[in-house]
Symmetry: C2
Subunit: 129 residues, 2 copies
C-alpha cells in the first residue's frame, strides 16, 4: 500500500525546512545547513543583485548577505501554498531583525522535493517598504 | 482526438500575453488590457509596497505605478519556464525605460490558464541594482 501524503504532511515538511533556515542558518550562521534547504540547482533572485544559481553559489551569497545586513533573527510565515504539479508555489512573509532594525519582506518560493525533503528551488523576495 | 499542446504552444501563448503587457499596458497606458494578462484572483508582490490581490486592485496598482515611475517601454525575456502541474513557473528579466533611466529587474511569474489563455497568477520582481 502506498504511503498517503496529505497537504498537512507537506506543510509540516515545509515548516521543518524553514526552521532549519531560521534556527541554523540565520541564528547560528551555519550556511552548511543550506544543503537541507535549497535544491542542488536552485536559483535565488535577491533584490539589488543578479540571480544566483546553484547551491555552492547560494551558500556564498548567504554567507555574505547575512553578514552585510546583520540579520540576527528571521521568522517565516506561509501566506499561501499552491499545488504546482510535483512542486508547491508558496507566497510568504519574512520578519527580519537586522543591524538596521526590523524589516518585513514578502517572498515567493517554488518548492520541489529532493531526496525526500521539500526544498526551495526558486527563491525571490522584496521589501514591503 | 484531443488537441496536442506542446511546450512550443505554451511558450507562444506566454509571449502573446507578455506582448499585451508591453504593447498595450506599458506603451499605450491601457490598463483595461490587464484583464488579458492577470487571472481574476492574481496576486502582485511589488518592491516597496504590500501585496496587491485581485485584478481590480492590480489594475489600480499598475495605473499608479506606471505613472509614478514614468515607464515608457518594457521588454520581457523568459530565462526559464518550468512545468508546474497545470501551471508554469517562469523566471524572467524585464528591461524598462523609465523617467529615471534604464532599469533591469528580474521576476518570477506563476502562470495559470484562465479561459483558454495563459495568464499571470502570481507576479513578483525586484531590481538587479
Amino acid at each position: 500500500m502506498p504511503d498517503i501524503v496529505t497537504v498537512t504532511d507537506i506543510r509540516e515538511s515545509m515548516r521543518a525546512t524553514n526552521a532549519v533556515f531560521t534556527h541554523e542558518v540565520v541564528a547560528k550562521g551555519n550556511v552548511g545547513a543550506l544543503e537541507q534547504i535549497y535544491t542542488v540547482d536552485a536559483r535565488v533572485l535577491p533584490p539589488g543583485a543578479e540571480m544566483v544559481s546553484g547551491r555552492p553559489a547560494i551558500q556564498q551569497f548567504w554567507a555574505g548577505a547575512l553578514k552585510a545586513l546583520g540579520v540576527t533573527r528571521a521568522a517565516l510565515t506561509t501566506i499561501d501554498a499552491m499545488p504546482a504539479g510535483e512542486g508547491i508555489v508558496e507566497i510568504g512573509r519574512a520578519d527580519l531583525e537586522t543591524a538596521g532594525g526590523s524589516v518585513t519582506v514578502k517572498y515567493v518560493v517554488f518548492w520541489k522535493q529532493e531526496g525526500g525533503r521539500w526544498k526551495w528551488h526558486v527563491d525571490i523576495w522584496n521589501p514591503n517598504s
